[in-house]
């Protein structure tokens, strides 16, 4: 990781600038494609988090914080879990004692029962992906953040 005053590597910055959108697009593909092929929420979320980590390593921490602020990581990580739990709560409420497990088929998302289940699964995968992405990025930010501002803080205190 480079500080602001250190020299910038044009090769790293350009390559990561080109690669990051494709990595993020691929991660969204992995999340959505989880229903028909290999993939799913956990994997796609980790790939998206890795793209944020690549941005921080190629540029610097303050730019990364500007792109992905603390509030966003908190809100996204909890909202993904809320999305999953909300879908589960909806399915419990709509099935009202019929289902033996979280049966998304009773949520009236579309006309067909099986299609409801597939759609509910997609929503759940998106929730998992949001949580995993935000948590991976947040852990990396916290681990990397430690070194720089502490000395300044101690001087000011």
């Amino acid at each position: 990781m480079k500080e602001d005053k250190g020299e910038r590597s044009i090769v790293t910055e350009t390559i990561s600038r080109v690669m990051i959108p494709f990595i993020q697009l691929f991660s969204l593909y992995v999340i959505i494609h989880g229903a028909v092929g290999p993939g799913g929420g956990f994997q796609g979320g980790v790939v998206f988090g890795a793209s944020i980590i690549l941005y921080i390593t190629a540029f610097n921490l303050t730019d990364g914080r500007r792109r992905f602020p603390e509030s966003a990581s908190i809100v996204l990580s909890s909202s993904g879990l809320y999305l999953y739990a909300g879908i589960g709560l909806l399915s419990i409420l709509f099935s009202a004692g019929v289902a033996q497990y979280l049966n998304y088929g009773f949520i009236p998302l579309s006309g067909q029962f099986e299609q409801n289940r597939a759609l509910g699964m997609e929503l759940v995968e998106i929730g998992i992906g949001l949580t995993v992405m935000a948590i991976v990025a947040s852990i990396f930010f916290d681990l990397a953040h430690k070194a720089e501002p502490k000395n300044k803080k101690e001087e000011t205190d």
């Binding site: 799913g40 299609q115 995968e125 947040s138």
Partner: protein
């Protein structure tokens, strides 16, 4: 402040009721002691003339009595398995314990002079009915996000808790 604590109490009560509801409703898939393999061998018995009986769609009386002796559900009809020679699928009738529809339950195979009686494990149901029930072709995904979705909810909660713990431990901003 008072309203906040009262609403928090109500929320905790609701969550507790939900937990009890979910706990009461946890699934009982087949025999919990059965290993997760395609067939579980139950016993083998001598094949006198049961092969012809099975071929005509009649269940031998000896098999019925042996199954009843061991406390297994009673078989209702038999048909030959299209995927294996000398193999028969035996079904159990509607409204047996844990099974409200007619299910493929036993598998009988002739080997030498003996009939080996197997039981279809839960995995068979998983493989054969998953696409029809959930509308998703990926076997792993419908296992992860549909049949075992309580489990996945717990896993996501574990990851969330890990992230929150890292935030609490490392984001102290100078104070200890």
């Amino acid at each position: 402040m008072r309203g906040l604590s009262i609403s928090a109490l109500i929320l905790i009560g609701l969550l507790g009721a939900l937990f009890i509801y979910v706990y009461e409703d946890l699934p009982a898939f087949g025999d919990p002691n059965a290993p997760a393999i395609k067939y579980t061998k139950l016993f083998s018995m001598a094949a006198h003339d049961s092969e012809e009986q099975l071929g005509q769609g009649v269940i031998p009386q000896e098999l019925i009595s042996k199954l009843k002796e061991r406390g297994f559900p009673r078989p209702s009809r038999v048909e030959s398995d299209p995927e294996s020679e000398n193999g028969w699928n035996v079904f159990i009738p509607k409204n047996e314990f844990h099974y409200d529809k007619e299910e493929k339950y036993y598998f009988i195979q002739k080997k030498g002079d003996e009939l080996n009686v197997f039981r279809n494990a839960f995995v068979i149901r998983w493989i054969e009915k998953g696409l029809k029930e959930t509308g998703v072709p990926n076997m792993v995904t419908y296992g992860l996000a549909d049949y075992r979705s309580y489990d996945t909810l717990g896993e996501t909660t574990v990851i969330f808790t890990a992230g929150i713990s890292v935030i609490l431990l490392l984001r102290r901003r100078g104070r200890l």
